[in-house]
């Protein structure tokens, strides 16, 4: 193994590293380490730029590689000038990270095979735009050269950013031959709110609220990831009772979304009974979140140091009874769906992604698990109660829409079981402890398995203990590429179904 000669700084999930003690590698060494890590089964959880602290210093790059099997995260650091050799050709899963760095800091990854803007915003510092766009106006989203195929019988279909349903904006450009899709290019950025720059010199009083709205359906996922970063940076130990309540909220969020997504899938293929039942059941799970903290989406529950709402005994037992009641309904609605031949015929073999593509693109969460790629931070990088209670990671083999639906079905059952186990073994004690000041010059990382997949937050503090850089990676960031690949050689009429089976977030990607 190469591992021994990699000079990595190793962290656990929720761990920190003192940057003054961390060595910066030369770019050659950095790229050698990164490629060796990926070859050895690591995956790039985050790769981002951090501007130097002085005026004229260059850009630092940090790479965080998740080594799933040893529950470690390896951190590498290097410094680059105005350009650096792109590694995308040898490691496709970083293609979006490199585009992101190019757009944010005006640094060119030379030799990048697909160097296009990602979110269509102005460069964060300086005025060297990689694409030569005017520095004084905000670029128009979707304003780029799309990949085109020409020839007899080839046609282009543009969908969005305004869609027929009530969904988020995104632009999809299909190159079709008749009904067959030869290529799909996805262009997002319509909801870019510049969350990462807003966090500089934070945390601010409203930071927590911003974290909860990175992606509204992953409120707990992103909120929890942020809190774990802050807790790691301040060295605060969260009480066990708070960790149990957080895990319950996270599982309720997963249940609401998985059940709602299967209902939406049923709606897309015109299978009415499950579509209607699941719509109601999603509400039932959201109401459980509301019982916990007063917000159906779990806003205001998770805070650095613990949770704001305790779970008293009557509420806890009431929630358990309610879960017992809706479990039967849920399984009934879902089994109806998965037992119906016309549904199986519609889903099986649609939008297939192979295991090797999933690994190359670094897919995470439901999309990866459906391809037989084991990816679950609750299993590989557990925190809190997941250390003791989580032991059932779900994977499917076929990688099609059926597999993605099936992962959701099985995760639903696991989550209900988890809720029951957490609920019956709630430890006593406080639910919140005060959070001290943040450590200076420190990097902290936190991975949370949101319902879509792995949410990665990385915080870096300056000498004064303020946030100098905060990096957010939503699972959708990786998985949109998976959707584009799933559509290759598929029928264009299957796109809505494939899209729904991935169930990705637009604003989580746009940040």
């Amino acid at each position: 193994m190469m591992k021994n000669d990699l000079e990595a700084q190793l962290l656990k999930n929720g761990g920190t590293v003192d940057l003054s003690l961390m060595e910066s590698l030369g770019y050659d060494e950095f790229s050698r380490c990164l490629l060796a890590e990926v070859k050895a089964g690591g995956r790039v959880a985050a790769l981002f730029g951090v501007p130097g602290e002085g005026k004229n210093e260059g850009l630092e790059l940090f790479a965080l590689i998740a080594r799933d099997r040893s529950a470690q995260i390896a951190v590498y650091r290097t410094e680059v000038g105005t350009s650096f050799p792109s590694l995308t050709q040898s490691c496709p899963q970083i293609h979006l990270f490199e585009r992101e760095i190019a757009e944010q800091y005006g640094v060119t990854p030379t030799g990048h095979p697909w160097l296009k803007p990602l979110r269509f915003h102005r460069v964060w510092q300086g005025d060297t735009d990689v694409w030569g766009r005017p520095p004084d106006e905000r670029p128009r989203p979707g304003d780029m050269e799309f990949y085109r195929i020409e020839g007899e019988g080839v046609h282009e279909v543009a969908v969005g950013p305004v869609h027929a349903g009530i969904i988020e904006p995104g632009h999809f450009r299909f190159q079709c031959y008749g009904e067959k899709v030869m290529h799909l290019e996805i262009s997002l950025g319509y909801q870019h709110r510049a969350i990462e720059p807003m966090l500089l010199a934070g945390p601010h009083p409203f930071t927590m609220a911003q974290m909860e709205t990175i992606a509204g359906d992953t409120t707990i996922g992103h909120g929890l990831a942020y809190c774990q970063v802050i807790e790691a940076l301040s060295g605060c130990v969260v009480p066990e009772r708070a960790q149990s309540i957080r895990a319950m909220a996270l599982e309720l969020e997963r249940l609401a979304n998985h059940v709602g997504d299967i209902g939406a899938l049923a709606g897309d293929i015109g299978f009415l009974p499950t579509a209607s039942f699941c719509g109601r059941l999603r509400g039932d799970y959201l109401n459980l979140s509301a019982a916990l903290c007063g917000s159906r989406f779990g806003r205001g529950l998770v805070r650095p140091g613990g949770v704001l709402f305790d779970l008293d005994a009557t509420l806890a037992s009431g929630m358990q009874t309610r879960i017992d009641e809706i479990e039967g309904n849920t399984l009934g609605a879902l089994n109806l769906f998965f037992d119906e031949p016309s549904v199986l015929g519609r889903l099986e073999g649609t939008g297939r992604v192979s295991r090797s593509v999933a690994e190359d693109l670094g897919l995470v969460g439901v999309a990866a698990k459906a391809c037989g790629v084991p990816r679950d931070s609750r299993f590989f990088h557990p925190t809190g109660v997941y250390r003791q209670l989580f032991d059932e990671m779900i994977t499917e083999e076929t990688g099609d829409a059926m597999a993605r639906a099936h992962v959701r079905l099985r995760e639903t059952m696991v989550s209900i079981d988890l809720l029951r186990r957490i609920g019956t073994s709630l430890p006593a004690g406080p639910v919140k402890v005060p959070v001290g000041p943040l450590k200076a010059n420190t990097l902290a990382v936190s991975l949370v398995e949101g319902w879509r997949g792995e949410v990665v937050h990385v915080g870096i503090t300056d000498a004064g203990g303020r946030l100098r850089r905060y990096k957010i990676v939503d699972p959708s960031f990786h998985n949109w590429s998976g959707l584009a690949m799933a559509l290759r050689d598929e029928q264009i009429s299957d796109f809505p179904l494939c899209n729904k089976s991935f169930g990705l977030s637009y604003c989580g990607f746009d940040l």
Partner: protein, 306 residues
Amino acid sequence: MRTTILQLFLHLFLLFGLSPLLSGVIGKTKALFAGRVGPPLLQLYFDIWKLFGKGMVISRTTTWIFRAGPVVGLAVPLLASLLIPFGPVGAPISFSGDLIFFVYLFGLSRFFTACAALDTGSSFEGMGAVREVTFSCLAEPTLFFVFIVLARLSGSFSLDAMFGQTLATSWHTAAPSLLLILVCLFIVTLVENCRIPFDDPNTHLELTMIHEVMVLDHSGPDLGMILYGAAMKFLVLGALVVRLFLPGTTGNMALDILLFIGGLLFMAVVIGVIESVMARLRLLRIPQLLVGVSLLSFFSLILLLR
């Protein structure tokens, strides 16, 4: 002469009055299965009324063809309805060979709808037009085989006679053939009216639509005409199915008409049930199914000729 005028009046009354109700019945049935209250039975009447009171937005790229589509879409089912008996009420217009006229009237309406869709220059509507034309090409042979079987049984080439008094006696002599063509005609009705499992009339996903996507650019009175025309087309094809299913007469005209209306409503309920318990077919499977149905209708002819 007086009976013809009475027939004409009854036809138009049933066609204009009853056709939007069927979609309401389907909607109610689906809502019942989903555990919802659902839209009112008369929703489509309200929609059409509302649309006729609205203005229109017309794309600059379109020509008169775009406006002609909805007009033809409304006129064709109206004409076609005059060629067929509505239960006990005979066809006001009837001539030998009108079955071919009937089939190609719908061909004409499809031609204009598809042209109107292509006229917008939208890639969605182009795709929808291609799909619609492809699928109806495959549904057309079935309709002809059905008519040939009925022509053979009745010994006449006019729809009025084919679906007339002889039908009841034919059920005694050629029940297997008639059962097969009843199934075929019902499936053609589903295809032609974009019902599940072939198309989903409720979907908002343009990429999966067949018929609905072709009319996306129409608005206001034009859309109202399209909706009314679609409801009438459903009633016309449904009337054939119901007539095939309930060929007998009680001798009492009023009772027979009520029976016919009951049959139509029953068919709407059946379609609602089908839509509630089935998912849509994958687009690639639809041609296979349609060819299968054509073969089925061909077998019914063989059964008859053996």
